[in-house]
Symmetry: D2
Subunit: 392 residues, 4 copies
């Protein structure tokens, strides 16, 4: 645990000295700040500081942290919009590292996982599709892979593919049995970005600007994937997606907790200095209520996160725990940043403080990785089953 | 009333055909869309359609609508971010027209009010100051006007001056007696934008991009204002500010109701078309709850607005009614747009739909024109006085 | 309007001097306070004061007030839990008077409506049934009336029949065509309470104790109703129920606004007198926030109520307006009373103040007369239809 | 941990078979159900089942559970309103046991603690005073103890003294130095209930009916306490009160979580069985949202509780953690029960289901043990200090 504390402290210092100034100068717009050029520079410094890929497997050069150990480190990184990229714990690479570590073959591990952990390449996870394909409802998966000699041919359309622009390789989820709307079977495929037929389309103009490579459309026009680049078992894709999603949700929560914390601390410092109506703002009851509610929301987010991490570290799927923690966190952290904005008054909606930027980046989290409504639906279904199974 | 209905319909048609396409093409960024060049083009079309300055006094070419009559017209204009500018009912001009109509001398009416109503010029209202000056607490007013021969000399610093960049003239509020923190006296001054010593500084980089002329810093370095450009009585400024604020708050509510309505209608159309989990989204209970809550929030906003407009039209200050309506509306309309975002899923946070843009423009309204906390404070003080004055 | 003001003032004075002391002595428990004996005494005094049945038709001795005119009068009555009973504007009599006034025959008017308006008798409205019968979903109506010579024979089971215990007559809603679950047809029947086969069963032990006659089960075992006691047309019952429900919802809102106002005023007086942490509680920001939020909720409730009353007075069904006003009011008034409880601290949950009592009486209003969820469902359905009907 | 699981299971079974039937028969009114007679009977059964006083020190016959271990046991007890009394973990005895275990002398331990753990006697904690004495603000303590030969003489007035009626002894907090409003010093005194001058006054008529001995006024008229019944050090009372309060708050949370869980499970079973509008209620989205929000609120309550228990078990005062957990829990559990009421429709506000009863018992928890507003104030003060202490 002392080790973790040291990693956290190093990460905090690194983020404050190396990352925040660039983040603030460019208002959290990663493309404007240099994109992959910036990433390479920052990751080199993180490597030097010994904090690159703290979650990566040890044999690939990572620190091999458990989920519980990641929590404070990722939160420290998330304090800057560019922090997670800087230490290589950004989505989707972070989740892809997790999944590859669990199911990649030895050869795939060498070709795909190793350079990913070391920051030599970025990756993307091509699952989500435009309507009527797979969005919140994965069973609607429409992209199809057809078996041919020596491999598979994939065709379909993806969108909201985070980090696609500039990614070195893609993990593509495609239907290998059944029809859209049926459960059927899906499979994960590995493909270099320059594979013929794979085309990164337009960036969706999302309000968030901090994810390197953006959120893009990806067109798959008869992309050939050789058998040895099938990731894991054929028709096991839906299960793998679930395995990836639980931890991926939790690391999102870790990172966004850091961002929300920065907004909160900014606001608290502001109200502690600013006077109005003859008082320091921090002494006014309505302001204190916002400060306290932020503290409560942050504490509850972390407490739920840790429960979920414990369950994941214990080897469970933890679908209930991660759904609850994700749903609560996305809404609670949004409230934290909204109150921080309000506490900062007029300055809270300008670039002079980092609060509006954080609000802009955070808003989509209530939709990305499963909208709150879909999580609530699955939480409720599970609860009704569990409670009615027990005799009253 | 038939007349009003006709004006509303004309405004709706005008906004949809002439304004929305430009708004959407430029994602509500008025500078990117052409700034004053765009304004001139759109106002010419509005003039032709007979809906320019519907609130302006009749002798200046306006339609002379009462507050109650303005409500549906301004809402129709607010359906587009650029709509209020197009028909010349934008802040701060709209509030300045209102104030000038009440207190300008005949000569001032000719020189300042007439061209403002006719869209020949824009104006700004220079009241707010950076800390520790007048923000939420007007009594902190620090800008000072000193009497000299034939006029006044004003020095001070203002910020968040909406529309300053490109304004033809300013209404400047400055202290003419007392000290910051005391009530003392303030006076309103009229000054051409090119007066020596008046300098428009940097734009505050606000999240909202739809207000023409932005929100700027304004430096006043010994600006001379001749006696005949004093607006109303000396030392009457605090009272005039209150007179201006009540109606100005309500017209904000009108415009933002239109914007929120567009977000709501966009979302309802989206959920009515989109399918998931085997249903149309509009048939899912959690979606219906969001639709219903939006309807309730919109209805309550309009009902409170109309109560306040009635009170204003009856000649009252209506401080209670306008504070309540403004506070409720700013929060309710924010909820409407936030739910609309959520209903639209991933597309809700992109430029593909107008929802994220409206959310961005609307957020500051909970802070501008008095943060909710300051309004609540004054509502509570008034309620305690009123209730304890009556014998239990 | 002066007349109305005078009626309001008289009602306020009457409630404070004659009703509140008894209400408080018995903690709002009408049975403990004397039940119908109390009612007779109080109604005699109200008659003397000229405020009995202000909504009753003039030819029956009422004041014939419109919906808009009723609002402030009923609110004044609702200031005490027993106030509406005292001036004879309690549910269900009030709604029954409304319905009888619209559809009773001349003979029915004489036999049923006249004594009801004059307080000589109470009535009940027997619509709701235990599962799987008609609850929130009226089409599930299971009580059946069968045509026989000279009349109808009704059998079925009702529950939550307000005022049943001690009612002089019942309006019974029974299916006269179709099957439960189908729309089919229902009919309204008038029946004296002592009709053979009509049995008032147990009181449901509801948390609210203020409704005279309680909320009871009613068993209908081959109750004969002669043809001349059919109320309105055969198979028109569903339509009549809707006609009754809109105004009945709004008068509930009026009465509960009065009750919530009393809780609010009690709390404001408490915080204005009580000191802690060196301040008067009313000067603390978190308390001011509660005071302000109560003022906002009360103002919005009244504003929505008036919109709905205007629509009803104009002759419309006003389903949208009354659904919105009822749903908002039930939740907003609950918040008002909950905040009032919180402001009063420990005393707020005791009988020493009337706040806990009001909370107990008010809670069911979010369920009675259509739970919020059912209203939201219908508000959403209507909104989706309206918005998608218009071309985008 | 297996041991704890076994204790939890035994407690669950005991509560369901022995306690719930009596609780439900008497609608949670402990006086109506037999008061101390009932307590003696149930505690004898709990003793037999080996689950009496699981938190009591082992040398007194308790099971010596840590805070973390208590959490699931107390939650299981709290499933019935009478459950905590039945296994002797009720407030205020439970907190008094905790405090006596920490600071009682050996003789006091024998005379007061031992019989308390074994259920031979009940106790009360006399701290709270009517205005202007010690309520939320302990420094206002007005009850005064004066040194005399061989002991102290105490005079003052207390109220909201839980369990006073029938208590065998009191822990009295009185000022031994300084003046009301100053910090000064307070001391804890032990006194038999039959000490001359100690008089239990009226019960405050609180809405909750489940606490044995009620919430009473206590008059102290020159009550003599010998020196050997001073509890702990003179002038150490404020510190001891804090030591008692942290854990006492958390055990309240444990118990109320059990009560809220029962309401939730009752509602889930109801919606899983009840049909309307052609669906099982549990399949309707708005119902699912309530089910999910309850699950989230319960999970977050437990997660925050465990964080606080960990901090307490580690030996800290844990003021921040317990304030946050108490504030969140009191509000979250209230929401859980309110949603449960709503889910059960009409039956939810009757005695036919246990939900309304639980709502009535739970409401005061947002006020007892520090109103949410006071906790928020202290959370905010602490946060501002902590954040501004660090260099930005």
């Amino acid at each position: 645990m002392e080790d973790i504390d040291a990693i956290v402290r190093t990460t905090q210092e690194f983020v404050r000295s190396e990352v925040l100034p660039i983040d603030d100068e460019h208002d959290g717009d990663v493309a404007a700040a240099g994109g992959d050029d910036l990433r390479v520079v920052l990751q080199a410094k993180a490597r030097e500081a010994g904090i690159l890929a703290p979650h990566g497997p040890v044999d690939c050069g990572g620190l091999g942290l458990s989920m519980q150990e990641r929590a404070p480190v990722f939160e420290a990184a998330g304090y800057s919009i560019f922090g997670p990229m800087a230490i290589n714990v950004n989505a989707p690479d972070e989740g892809n590292i997790h999944m590859l570590d669990h199911i990649a073959s030895a050869a795939q591990r060498q070709r795909f996982l190793l350079p990913l952990v070391q920051g030599e390449v970025r990756s993307a996870f091509a699952m989500t599709e435009p309507a009527p394909g797979a969005g919140s409802d994965p069973s609607a998966l429409a992209t199809r892979a057809t078996k041919v000699d020596g491999g598979w041919v994939i065709s379909g359309r993806k969108h909201f593919i985070t980090g696609a622009d500039g990614a070195g390789f893609f993990i593509i989820m495609a239907r290998t049995s059944g029809e859209p709307g049926s459960a059927g079977g899906a499979t994960m495929f590995l493909s270099a970005a320059d594979a013929p037929g794979l085309e990164v389309g337009r960036h969706l103009g999302t309000m968030d600007l901090g994810m390197i490579g953006g959120h893009c459309e990806v067109l798959l026009n008869e992309v050939f994937v050789p058998d040895h680049d099938v990731l894991g078992g054929v028709d096991e894709g839906f299960r793998y997606a679930q395995v990836r999603l639980g931890p991926a949700r939790m690391t999102h929560v870790m990172r966004w907790t850091g961002a929300a914390l920065r907004a909160h601390e900014t606001a608290v410092r502001y109200v502690a200095e600013r006077e109005a109506f003859g008082s320091c703002l921090a002494d006014l009851g309505m302001v204190q209520q916002m400060v306290a509610d932020n503290e409560i929301d942050l504490a509850a987010t972390r407490a739920l996160l840790l429960e979920a991490c414990r369950a994941l570290d214990a080897g469970g799927r933890a679908s209930k725990e991660t759904s609850i923690a994700k749903t609560f966190a996305a809404e609670a952290l949004h409230r934290v940043v909204d109150r921080a904005t309000q506490m900062c008054g007029g300055l809270g909606v300008t670039r002079d403080l980092p609060v509006a930027k954080i609000a802009r980046e955070l808003r989509p989290f209530r939709i990305y990785d499963g909208p709150s409504e879909v999580h609530r639906w699955s939480i409720a279904k599970r609860a009704v089953r569990a409670i009615t199974a027990v005799q009253a």
